[in-house]
């Protein structure tokens, strides 16, 4: 499959993120771990929440425990250590805590299944990834929490593998469109305008909405902390000279729709990263048609999309057709079904 071989050469930390529950995230993770073992890559595995449980508590569908090959590392909370089937050497007691106790970094002396959990905060995630790399991991895989894409922010991981599937919708075209929407957001362009970047850096600590004009003296800091429900206020504050509206927080549908139509074409939004865009697919399409442009300060690279054609509701799609449809919608991101071994 070569998914890892391609990514490890470029990325040290990769998050696997599910678009919804039961989109096959854990299966994808298992496939990546198996591939790493085959390739001789020393992997570190962590999770943004407790994961690898034998059963998905919400829907009751079978969910494999994570199989750790010999030599791989994982973050294991104290309370879950005794449940591991793998032989785990405790390498370090970290300062991170979970509901299941302090998190330890363990190395598999003998292969077997384990239950992995790690810190929930983005700062904690970054810290524990750095510790595993320091202890000798070639690469770290983060089992991203289900439906919590915010933790896959660029602060935490270098690249993202997105898991999607039939759990999203009963209509294949809808699954493809929703997946493409997320892929489009993650693929938003990074701001390169040096003058604007300098202006943003200057006001970075203020946590206020910043309007950058054509000339540097036309910039103004709006006395608004967040974009939530601030659409009309921002709309009233910009004019034909405004080039960028820089948001310290989220870009919401209400905010974007509050911008007068003629200025939507001349002024672009800037958000810190793609996870800050909270605009649903249909509104996003409508706003894009009206000229909406959004830049990010740092992007998230989606290196692959994995599909799970099975839905916990009892139906499934034809895997090949689903892959074809999503592939057509997302462009050049590789799409595969790790269970069908088909790419």
């Amino acid at each position: 499959m070569g998914l890892l071989r391609e990514t490890t050469s470029q990325y040290k930390i990769v998050s696997v993120v599910g678009m919804a529950k039961n989109t096959g995230k854990t299966t994808t993770l298992g496939a990546l771990i198996a591939e790493a073992a085959d390739e001789g890559i020393r992997l570190g595995v962590t999770s943004t929440g407790r994961d690898g449980e034998t059963e998905d508590l919400v829907t009751g569908t079978a969910k494999p425990r994570i199989f750790l090959p010999e030599g791989a590392m994982a973050t294991i909370p104290k309370e879950l250590y005794a449940f591991a089937e793998a032989g785990l050497e405790i390498l370090r007691m970290t300062d991170y805590h979970t509901a299941l106790g302090q998190v330890m970094i363990c190395g598999a002396v003998s292969e077997g299944t384990v239950q992995v959990a790690g810190p929930v905060s983005a700062t904690g995630q970054m810290g524990i990834c750095a510790e595993m790399l320091e202890l000798g991991a070639d690469m770290v895989l983060i089992d991203g929490a289900i439906d919590r894409r915010s933790v896959a922010a660029p602060r935490t991981s270098d690249a993202v593998i997105l898991a999607t599937g039939a759990a999203l919708s009963g209509r294949m075209s809808e699954v493809a469109a929703e997946t493409a929407h997320v892929a489009e957001l993650y693929g938003l362009p990074t701001l390169r305008d040096e003058a604007a970047l300098a202006e943003i850096a200057k006001h970075a600590g203020e946590k206020r909405i910043l309007c950058i004009g054509e000339q540097s003296d036309e910039s103004k800091v709006l006395n608004l902390k967040t974009g939530l429900a601030a659409g009309a206020d921002v709309g009233g504050a910009i004019d034909e000279n405004s080039r960028y509206i820089c948001l310290p927080g989220a870009l919401t549908k209400g905010l974007a729709e509050g911008i007068p139509a003629n200025f939507l074409k001349t002024a672009a939004f800037v958000v810190t990263d793609p996870t800050k865009v909270f605009v649903d697919r249909r509104a996003w399409r409508r706003l894009r048609d009206r000229g909406l442009r959004v830049f990010v300060l740092s992007g998230v690279k989606i290196v692959a999309i994995t599909v799970n054609p099975y839905s916990p509701a009892g139906f499934s799609f034809d895997s090949a057709e689903l892959i074809r449809m999503i592939g057509a919608a997302v462009g050049d991101i590789p799409v595969l079904d790790v269970r069908m071994r088909r790419a």
């Binding site: 496939a31 198996a34 085959d38 104290k78 250590y81 005794a82 032989g87 785990l88 050497e89 405790i90 390498l91 370090r92 007691m93 330890m104 002396v109 003998s110 054609p309 099975y310 009892g314 139906f315 499934s316 799609f317 034809d318 895997s319 090949a320 269970r339 069908m340 071994r341």
Partner: protein, 552 residues
């Protein structure tokens, strides 16, 4: 009780405690359990001061080593529960790991103490636990990692080897089956030896259904998941591997039980070492505090006394420094009986009183004190009575709550009490206030307490039985300079400017003397109408003459 929470808060002793940088759970426990040295404990207190002095000297002379000690301290975990349990039940692998890491850190500390050599105060060197560490570290690598290693038990190692061999054979058997399947039917399986076949792929589906090696493990509308059936040999291997896994678990349990016994045999020693870590942690925090604030070792006397030379009330000093002002140290000499601090408003009387409480409390708890020098005879209790806005919020009048509290203090105080009273009856009418103050002084002057009162009332005490102190206030300041300095100051800064010019130092007043009349002066400096000031001076004269006539 030595001192109430309120007293510890008002004197600033809580500030000192919260500023201590304790790094280990054992140091924190020790600080939390610390009791004050009572009269009669002087020898024990001197011994504590000797230790503190030794640690302070070590910090000053071996700063780098001290930093390394602190670095190890930061990593010390509280294992008292584990150590208490180890005689009753078998420790888990995680617990054994934590014990090993604690032993390694203790050993690291011993190494640093050794480097410091003779400058290291005695009594902190941990007892040797290398025997137990050897038992937990069969490889001898002294790495901070742990596992039930093969080296712990030959039996365990053999079992693990056998299980690994069975698994290898099992995998080879499956691999062979998978290869045969691929050769015969062209069906490839994944690493779990499964193949998911789409229903639409009728040829593959037909091949899979007719392949004897495969069975349908699950299916849905669009695909069927086939799994590789184990061979007879494979099933046997699987069963053997599972049986070995159970045996391995038992062997690991035996190793843990043996190691737990080894830990239990040394538990008391480990706990003693932890105690020493806690003691050093607490002393290093105290010593660092003393170095930061230029604190000195007080001279301890057997009698009840408090002699402070150039003392600084640390919270006030910090507040002034943050505003860019200097704190003028205060000296005072207190003996059993009543002493009064008299003086103008804004004169810092209360701060001087708090300083006395702080020096007494710090000495009592074995701290060096923020003074140039101090002679302290231990107090059995410290009480402070001071206006508190909290009581006002509760709805009590300030006078009422003050009287209730004073009552409680007088009732609870015994020999060698230190009682600090701020502006008693200051909020009621001056005539009654003065009368009450005089009565309290008369009552307290023959009690076996050291009482310090602040008052702005005139002549509440004669100079015979009561020692009077007076705040220098603005008496030494040049009024013209002051006025000039204030002319340019913004209205909001004027009070602060006066505060900065105030001389908070105390002067012993011999014989009778009125409190300094700074109030009218301050009003004048602040620019109150000249006619009002003149009138106030005339009224003062009249009242003074009036009182002299009546012989008050």
């Amino acid at each position: 009780m030595y001192a109430s929470e309120r007293t510890n808060r008002e004197t600033g002793f809580f500030d000192v405690l919260s500023e201590l940088r304790l790094r280990t759970p054992y140091g924190k426990k020790r600080a939390a359990a610390a009791r004050a040295f009572a009269p009669g404990d002087e020898a024990a207190l001197e011994a504590e001061f000797d230790r503190l002095q030794g640690v302070r000297n070590m910090l000053a002379a071996h700063g780098d080593a001290a930093k390394r000690i602190e670095g190890v301290f930061d990593e010390i975990k509280d294992l008292s529960l584990t150590l208490a349990r180890c005689s009753e039940l078998v420790l888990s692998t995680v617990e054994l790991f934590e014990i090993k890491v604690l032993l390694l850190r203790t050993e690291a500390l011993a190494g640093i103490y050794g480097e410091i050599g003779s400058a290291m105060p005695s009594g902190f060197m941990p007892e040797d636990t290398s025997g137990l560490l050897d038992a937990l570290d069969p490889e001898g690598g002294r790495m901070p990692t742990f596992y039930i290693y093969d080296l712990f038990s030959e039996e365990l190692a053999a079992l693990r080897r056998r299980k690994k061999e069975k698994e290898r054979l099992l995998r080879a058997d499956r691999k062979r089956l998978a290869d045969e399947l691929f050769a015969a039917a062209g069906i490839a399986t994944d690493p779990k030896f499964e193949a998911v076949i789409a229903r639409g792929d009728t040829a593959a589906m037909e091949a899979a259904r007719s392949a004897p090696q495969l069975y349908a493990a699950g299916e849905d509308l669009f695909s069927v998941r086939f799994a590789l059936a184990a061979s007879e040999a494979g099933r046997a291997l699987q069963g053997e591997a599972e049986a070995l896994a159970a045996e391995i678990e038992e062997a690991e349990d035996r190793v843990r039980a043996e190691l737990t016994c080894a830990v239990a045999a040394e538990a008391a020693r480990i706990l003693r070492n932890c105690d020493r870590i806690g003691a050093l942690d607490f002393l290093m925090a105290k010593a660092a505090h003393a170095l930061r604030h230029g604190c000195v070792r007080p001279v301890i006397t057997r009698g009840h006394a408090l002699r402070i030379e150039e003392g600084r009330h640390l919270p006030t000093e910090r507040a002034l420094r943050e505003k860019g002002h200097a704190y003028r140290p205060v000296s005072i000499d207190l003996a059993p009986g009543v002493s009064c601090i008299m003086g103008a408003n804004m004169g810092g009387k209360t701060v001087s009183m708090k300083l006395v409480g702080l020096v007494a409390a710090m000495t009592g708890h074995g701290f060096f004190v923020p003074c140039k020098s101090a002679v302290v005879g231990l107090s059995a209790s410290i009480s402070i009575l001071i206006g508190d806005s909290q009581d006002l919020r509760k709805g009590l009048s300030s006078f009422g709550s003050e009287m209730e509290e004073l009552n409680a203090i007088l009732k609870d105080s015994g020999a060698r009490a230190l009682i600090l009273i701020d502006e008693i009856a200051g909020a009621t009418n001056p005539a009654e206030g003065r009368a009450l103050t005089r009565a309290f002084i008369a009552h307290l002057s023959d009690k076996p307490y050291i009482t310090l009162m602040t008052t702005h009332f005139d002549r509440v005490a004669d100079g015979g039985t009561v020692a009077n102190y007076c705040v220098r206030g603005l008496s030494g300041a040049n009024l013209e300079d002051l006025a000039a300095a204030l002319r340019d100051a913004a209205p909001g800064e004027r009070l602060e400017a006066i505060g900065a010019l105030m001389d908070y130092r105390l002067e012993r007043v011999m014989g009778e003397r009125d409190t300094p009349k700074d109030a009218i002066r301050i009003a004048e400096i602040l620019g109150v109408n000249k006619e009002i000031i003149a009138l106030a001076r005339i009224f003062m004269e009249e009242e003074h003459a009036d009182r002299t006539e009546k012989g008050v």
